[in-house]
């Protein structure tokens, strides 16, 4: 029944001021848009501007609305839809805590190696893995860890940037 929805990764450059994230999040909740993931951090030298990366799903009409609504927020300097504006790189990082002993513990380490995850904390009964990659890759890694004693996952959400030498 639903029209075809698409997944889009949108970059938003905003003034680094109090409440700006609430404006963006409030816009999404108030108008019923989806947020699949959201990341934000200061990105310029003077701490004046932050970059927000939002992954959202919606019909093409909704995606267009989201961009227009973001664009008219007063502290927003620019909105870029990385999904439509050419090739881009998307990455996510996760910290994954796995507890266990014996063969399952060894197996988790073996799989971590295949996924190029690093061990950043280790006790006799647990590991914390750091893994970077696409959302899919992290999903698979977490899925494989589940039967091997998965305890906790902390993910950053997607950050993304366009390929090539141009700014957003």
């Amino acid at each position: 029944m639903d029209k075809m929805t698409e997944r889009h990764t949108i970059g938003v450059l905003v003034d680094n001021e109090a409440g700006v994230l609430a404006r963006v999040v409030g816009l999404f909740s108030g108008r019923g848009y989806n947020i699949d993931s959201l990341t934000v951090a200061v990105v310029d030298q003077n701490d004046d501007q932050s970059r927000i990366t939002i992954v959202t799903t919606g019909t093409p009409q909704v995606i267009e609305q989201i961009k227009a609504q973001l664009g008219r927020l007063v502290p927003v300097h620019g909105v870029t839809d990385l999904t439509v504006e050419g090739p881009h790189v998307e990455r996510e990082m996760a910290l994954v805590k796995v507890a266990g002993s014996g063969e399952t513990r060894v197996e988790s380490l073996r799989i971590a190696d295949i996924f190029r995850a690093r061990v950043v904390d280790s006790t006799i009964t647990s590991f914390v893995f750091e893994i970077t990659g696409s959302t899919d890759k992290i999903n698979s890694f977490v899925g494989l860890m589940r039967p091997l004693g998965l305890v906790d996952v902390s993910r950053t959400g997607v950050v993304a940037i366009s390929r090539g030498d141009k700014p957003m």
Binding site: G19, R72, V74
Partner: protein, 585 residues
């Protein structure tokens, strides 16, 4: 350096003066006392003391809508700010420039649940165009001027500036309003010329063109209305308007089909359905206009001029979007139109007007005035006769009387019609009339209202009396929340649940108690005299007319129906509303 510094309260006052503010609508309280102190010994700005903060915002809206200048509100923290929320939302929905200064508890108490503390920026974030919490007196002057810039540029709207008490007492430097450019907010004013040319091409080839205009024309300034009139004349195309756009084009002009939408004219809605090129100028395809979306104006290519990019393709996909200010875009359109010496196909245009003439024959606004009880339509027609040529300003509340006023009053000029369109705020009319009368002390200002709406901000009568504002309150009393009753009749099997008030006050005594005049009519023969007396009143007056309780507002697009499926009157087939339609507002 120190000698050049002002207190925060002085900076607020000075920036208001430098922004050309003449009137502030407000209500004092603990956290804004320093500002009220700064107001005390000065005479550059007049303060109007309202009786409730919601009234202050509506008054500022009336002031803004009738002058084209921003309206300014000053309220205290906590309840002062939360009481203003309805007005702010109203201003946001109808794109009215309002600057609302709210007091706040001192900075060091923020977050401690202090007395009269509320998270004002949090609460007002979704109901303002933008808001600010001032954290340093050094930023205050810049933020004040920014607030005016944001409220009045692009699509206008309300802006809140939250002012902690210590920021008002501390000192800081003052800077004037001149600035090069806002760092991030730069709305597009000029339309894309290629799109404009394409639009002209499309209009020139149209066989059944139609202008569909809205509040954006009014917001763009009187120049935009002049350009609209010129372009309509150039093309000889028919034109309809939304509720918010009334007055941008003279209602008595032959080209004008009347208002469009749920209670719009039959010919206007049919023309919307049948046109082949729709030129939407500063309107936003609101659900009150479109009816059921999948049946809306399927035969037309659509041009949409709007200063807000988020209005484009929001509800209805359009073929040629033109983002820009209506005035600028129309100016360019007319230039292109003239330079290419365009004309519509005469034969096609004649046959288009012939279809319109047929729809007009339905005479969709006809009504029957009996002998015993006044019909609201008759009252409004009588009012129209009385204000004709008097350059009157009209405000309304919300409900049946609002729609009747929109249908039967004939507006000639922009900025004369103040009504709550988007939010539909009962209680808007009286305070808005007060704001209008403050801006236009010599002009007749009529507030058309119903008894239920009127009671929602009836306390503002006291304001009108205090400032000797001769607002004329035409109160259509049917003892029901009329529009609620109408929907209950048509959609809920005549079950009039809670839409009747058992104990209405005696409005003549209310008037007497507040210290204003009153007039009363309960027979159609008295209506003409009542309105003549009302117009002659030198002070504020309540002119109450008892009207037919059973009168419904027609024509009507029932909810969930297509915009060409109108009921014209009580003798028409009553609507069979689907469950899906009944779920709609």
């Amino acid at each position: 350096m120190a000698s050049a510094e002002l207190t925060g309260a002085e900076i607020v006052l000075k920036s208001l003066v430098d922004q050309g503010v003449k009137v502030v609508f407000g209500y004092p309280g603990g956290s804004v006392l320093p500002i009220y102190d700064a107001f005390f010994e000065q005479n550059k700005i007049k303060h109007v003391l309202v009786r409730h903060e919601q009234g202050a915002v509506h008054a500022a809206e009336g002031y803004a809508r009738s002058t084209g200048k921003p309206g300014v509100v000053l309220v205290t923290s906590g309840p002062g700010a939360t009481n203003a929320v309805t007005g702010l939302t109203d201003a946001l929905m109808d794109s009215i420039p309002v600057i609302c200064l709210t007091g706040q508890v001192p900075s060091h108490l923020i977050g401690t649940d202090a007395f009269q503390e509320a998270d004002t920026v949090g609460i007002t974030r979704p109901c303002t165009k933008h808001n600010y919490l001032v954290k340093d007196t050094a930023d205050l002057a810049r933020i004040m001027h920014d607030a005016f810039y944001v409220a009045t540029n692009g699509r206008p709207g309300p802006v809140v500036v939250d002012l902690p008490k210590d920021i008002m007492i501390n000192t800081g430097p003052y800077v004037g309003p001149k600035r090069a450019q806002h760092s991030s907010y730069k709305p597009q004013v000029k339309g894309n010329l290629a799109a404009i040319k394409e639009a002209v091409e499309l209009i020139a080839g149209a066989k059944k063109p139609l202008f569909y205009t809205g509040g954006g024309v009014i917001n763009s300034g009187p120049g935009a209305s002049t350009l609209l009139r010129e372009f309509v004349r150039q093309t000889s195309a028919p034109i309809t308007s939304t509720l918010m756009g009334l007055g941008a084009f003279p209602s008595t002009d032959e080209s004008f089909l009347g208002m469009v939408g749920m209670h719009g004219n039959y010919e206007a809605n049919l023309a919307m359905a049948e046109c082949d090129v729709m030129i939407c100028v500063g309107a936003r395809f609101d659900d009150r206009v479109t009816g059921r979306l999948d049946a809306f104006a399927k035969k037309s290519k659509k041009i949409h001029i709007d200063i807000d990019p988020s209005s484009i393709n929001k509800n209805v996909p359009v073929d040629i979007p033109i983002v820009g200010d209506v005035g600028h875009v129309l100016e360019d359109m007319i230039k292109v139109w003239k330079s290419t010496a365009r004309k519509l196909d005469k034969k096609a245009n004649d046959s288009w007007w012939a279809s319109i003439a047929k729809w007009r024959e339905k005479d969709c606004l006809k009504y029957f005035q009996g002998k015993d009880i006044a019909k609201p339509q008759y009252v409004l027609e009588t009012l129209q006769k009385a204000v004709d040529g008097k350059d009157a300003y009209v405000t309304t509340d919300v409900g049946q009387h609002q729609m009747w006023a929109a249908q039967y009053l004939k507006f000639q000029d922009p900025n004369r019609w103040m009504t709550s369109g988007g939010l539909g705020t009962m209680g808007y009319g009286l305070p808005a009339a007060i704001g209008v009368q403050m801006a236009h002390p010599k002009s007749p200002v009529v507030c058309v209202t119903g008894e239920a709406s009127f009671m929602m901000n009836i306390q503002e009568l006291s304001t009108a009396v205090q400032y000797r504002l001769p607002v004329k309150i035409l109160l259509l009393n049917n003892r029901y929340m009329g529009m609620v009753r109408q929907w209950q009749e048509l959609l809920h099997g005549n079950r009039y649940s809670e839409s009747y008030m058992e104990s209405l006050p005696d409005f003549a005594k209310v008037a007497d108690a507040f210290g204003l005049d009153s007039l009363f009519a309960d027979h159609p023969d008295q209506v003409e005299n009542l309105i003549a007396d009302m117009m002659a009143c030198e002070g504020p007056v309540i002119a109450e007319v008892m009207i037919d309780q059973k009168e419904n507002c027609f024509p009507m697009i029932p909810s969930g129906a297509a915009h060409y499926e109108m009921i014209l009157g009580p003798n028409d087939d009553q609507p069979t509303v689907s469950a899906k339609g009944a779920a709609l507002v």
